[in-house]
């Protein structure tokens, strides 16, 4: 049937099962928005306050649901406002498809109104991107984009469509997703691999089984790859069959249950003593879906210096990139573990476990009378909120405290910007998560610095009736930067003190949400109870001390057990 590019785009989104889009309209994308009215029963559009919020929401949606997140933006500033969101998704391997419209083909390259070369801009931060100049190529491109975003190591893909393409007409018929590889661009891609689904190498897996059999002190790292491939179940079985301590990276949270008896807590710069010391002493380190970022392997030369290091990752380019390994397996975490499990025997490492678990797996923060501490706030949240609450964070001290305190039990329960460290990510991501998982409670943990960056999305939260609870760790400073200034820059607090507005309670109320200011545990508990009962969203502003620190801490570039503070 002949139809316009705009209709073809929406039909293609329906082919992919897309039922939610986050976006913001504008001049060049008007044809698409005009057509969107005809899909109101099938596709829900969430209008955000800013394109960055839309992109973070699509990302949060993808992380919470495991599906591909979709966002729309117009040309020029609309498109460039997505950039931080795309980079955030790229660094954390989150599958999103961003659709922007550019000026018409005849105007491209003439510095036209709201024109920008967004495919050029986003080249380093997308898995792939496309500029569609001909309506005949549109359907094919969208199909390829979705396949690439969700396959292999997932990541963001951007499609920029010239405005005239959305108005021009061509033949289109809806195809089942399984038929997309029969022809067109995906077909050409598939021919490269003779239409064969990829499989891990069995010899490599057998080698690992032998290494496991020879090991006395094995250790496992649960990375983001376990979460991305939703391999938590088999991963847990694997860790227990191996009877090995398991450290969890920031992105790996939820891959192994927080209270699992073998979980040694987070690893790296703010990792637990148990995790960091165990990595330093183990004789076999199996890292699954982990790229050894500089926040984990702070000093690559001495990282796991007594161990044979085995890296399992779907992205071959990650092997030996940051840390030199002794053996590697390229493959999807779940598939590799499925093939590995029958080859290994039940192991027992009681002495080794005793050694590792003699060190603390969690940080206990002192409570000071008369002061509200982050630990008290987080304990109250953990006590009062359902166990399966989704936690979205911004970036900074509150992020580390939240991750140290909460016990994440399933993939997608923690939504945080790990690799890119994007302040202002949290609220948009929380909106995406709440839209994607309406049955779950979503708590957004943030700091006063991060929250001020993108608090405009409170309007979105209110309009769509999303009962998100935002908890602000309000210490009147950029806490993490201040911590570094305290420890490394001789208490020279340059431009980190946030001794200025807004009044967060009034701000929340201005957006039509509940606002609370609390400075004791009792007040917080009461405010949270009210927030949990309320049908609409809430902001709880918690006054905490500006000199609270995240502990422990290992300095950047230092050996993993050289704790600067315990």
């Amino acid at each position: 049937m002949e139809m316009t590019g705009a209709k073809i785009l929406l039909e293609c989104l329906r082919e992919q099962g897309v039922d939610t889009i986050f976006g913001y309209p504008g001049g060049t994308i008007l044809n698409v928005y005009d057509e969107l009215c005809n899909y109101s029963g099938e596709i829900q559009h969430i209008l955000t306050s800013h394109e960055q919020g839309a992109c973070h929401a699509a990302d949060g949606y993808a992380r919470a649901t495991g599906k591909v997140g979709v966002c729309f933006a117009t040309s020029g500033p609309g498109a460039t406002n997505l950039v931080t969101g795309i980079a955030t998704a790229y660094l954390d391997s989150s599958p999103i498809v961003c659709i922007t419209c550019n000026v018409s083909v005849g105007l491209i390259g003439k510095d036209s109104f709201q024109e920008v070369d967004i495919t050029g801009v986003t080249m380093p931060i997308t898995k792939c991107n496309y500029l569609v100049r001909r309506v005949e190529n549109l359907a094919d491109t969208v199909r390829e984009a979705f396949a690439i975003a969700r396959s292999g190591r997932p990541g963001p893909v951007l499609i920029d469509i010239a405005k005239n393409v959305t108005a021009e007409r061509t033949e289109f018929s809806r195809l089942d997703r399984h038929d997309h590889t029969a022809e067109g661009r995906l077909g050409a891609l598939m021919r490269r691999w003779d239409f064969k689904p990829p499989e891990p190498d069995m010899d490599d897996i057998r080698t690992l089984a032998d290494m496991i059999a020879a090991s006395q002190k094995p250790m496992v790292i649960c990375g983001g790859g376990v979460v991305r491939s939703r391999a938590d179940k088999i991963f847990t079985e694997f860790v227990h069959k191996l009877d090995a301590p398991c450290a969890v990276t920031l992105m790996g949270a939820g891959g192994l249950r927080g209270l699992d008896s073998l979980n040694t807590g987070m690893i790296g710069m703010h990792g637990s003593q148990a995790s960091n010391i165990a990595v330093d002493n183990c004789d076999l380190l199996i890292a699954i879906g982990c790229r050894f970022s500089d926040r984990v392997a702070l000093k690559p030369d001495t990282f796991a210096q007594h161990a044979k290091i085995v890296q399992i990752d779907i992205d071959r380019a990650e092997i030996n990139k940051n840390v030199e390994t002794d053996h590697h397996i390229v493959g999807d975490a779940r598939r590799v573990l499925e093939l590995l499990m029958p080859l290994i025997d039940e192991q027992h490492h009681d002495a080794w476990k005793e050694e590792v678990f003699s060190h603390p797996t969690e940080t206990f923060y002192d409570e000071r009378p008369g002061c509200l501490t982050p630990g008290q706030v987080l304990s109250a949240i953990a006590r009062q909120c359902p166990q399966d609450t989704i936690v979205a964070t911004d970036v900074g001290q509150h992020q580390m405290w939240a991750i140290q305190h909460f016990h994440f039990d399933y993939p997608g329960q923690l939504i945080t910007s790990g690799g890119f460290g994007t302040m202002g990510f949290g609220l948009g991501a929380a909106i995406g998560a709440q839209v994607g998982r309406p049955g779950k409670r979503v708590v957004h943990i943030t700091g006063d610095g991060s929250f001020r960056m993108n608090c405009n999305e409170l309007a979105t939260e209110q309009f769509y009736g999303l009962p998100i609870i935002t908890v602000i760790f309000d210490n009147g400073t950029l806490g993490m930067v201040r911590q570094w200034q305290t420890l490394i820059y001789q208490q020279h607090y340059s431009q980190t003190t946030l001794d200025r507005g807004p009044n967060f309670v009034k701000l929340a109320e201005a957006y039509g949400l509940n606002g609370f200011h609390v400075s004791t545990v009792e007040e917080f508990t009461a405010a949270l109870a009210k927030a949990l009962e309320s049908p609409c969203g809430s902001v709880i502003d918690c006054a905490i001390d500006m000199d609270e620190m995240v502990r422990p801490m290992v300095g950047g570039g230092s050996h993993i057990t050289d704790f600067m503070i315990n």
Partner: protein, 185 residues
């Protein structure tokens, strides 16, 4: 230790692919010493030959990042001892007096360069070879006055029956991450 490396890259013959490949080099801070691009026997596929200064580890990381790109089919670092490398150099030399002109023609003959353009005051030579040959003739011609010099950039093939298309285990590993069939699509 940094040395000059030759990379052969097979890519989709599409707009934007060259900038995708080139930006990996600039993004990681490497200067491209030489670059040549052209289609292959398959019109849908182009071959890029890149020369870059890098040590072993840097070269490996560069190749790995290249192999990740969807538009890249295969990448091979060609070892100098196993590769044939050639480039075409065009040199326009000042040649106003017949004596000088004869000398230049003699030099061209020795280097098996051909004279491809003549004017009253200049000669243009075409030379095929690797960089040592180009450098040698350039040194000899400098005294006559080189008006312009242009090189195509090095192209290279591996010696023997080996090709860039070999299905190695490593190539299979890279393809794993790019294969869009993983989720049974």
């Amino acid at each position: 230790m940094q040395q000059r490396n030759t990379l052969a890259v097979l890519v989709d013959n599409e707009s934007g692919v060259l900038s995708r490949v080139a930006r990996l080099f600039s993004g990681k801070g490497y200067n491209i010493e030489s670059l040549a691009v052209g289609t292959t026997d398959d019109p849908a596929i182009s071959r890029i030959t890149i020369e870059v200064m890098a040590d072993e580890k840097q070269l490996r990381l560069l190749c790995n990042q290249l192999r990740k790109l969807i538009c890249v089919h295969s990448v091979k670092a060609l070892r100098p001892e196993h590769a044939i490398r050639r480039e075409l150099v065009l040199i326009k030399v000042l040649a106003e007096e017949s004596e000088k002109r004869n000398e230049i023609i003699q030099i061209a003959n020795i280097f098996r360069a051909s004279i491809i353009d003549v004017s009253k005051s200049s000669l243009t030579l075409a030379l095929i070879g690797d960089e040592s040959k180009a450098e040698a003739i350039q040194n000899l011609l400098t005294e006559f006055g080189i008006l312009e010099l242009v090189r195509t950039g090095m192209v290279a093939l591996e010696r023997g029956q080996y090709t860039i298309d070999e299905q190695t285990k490593e190539k299979g590993e890279f393809d794993y991450g790019k294969n869009v069939l993983r989720e049974g699509l």
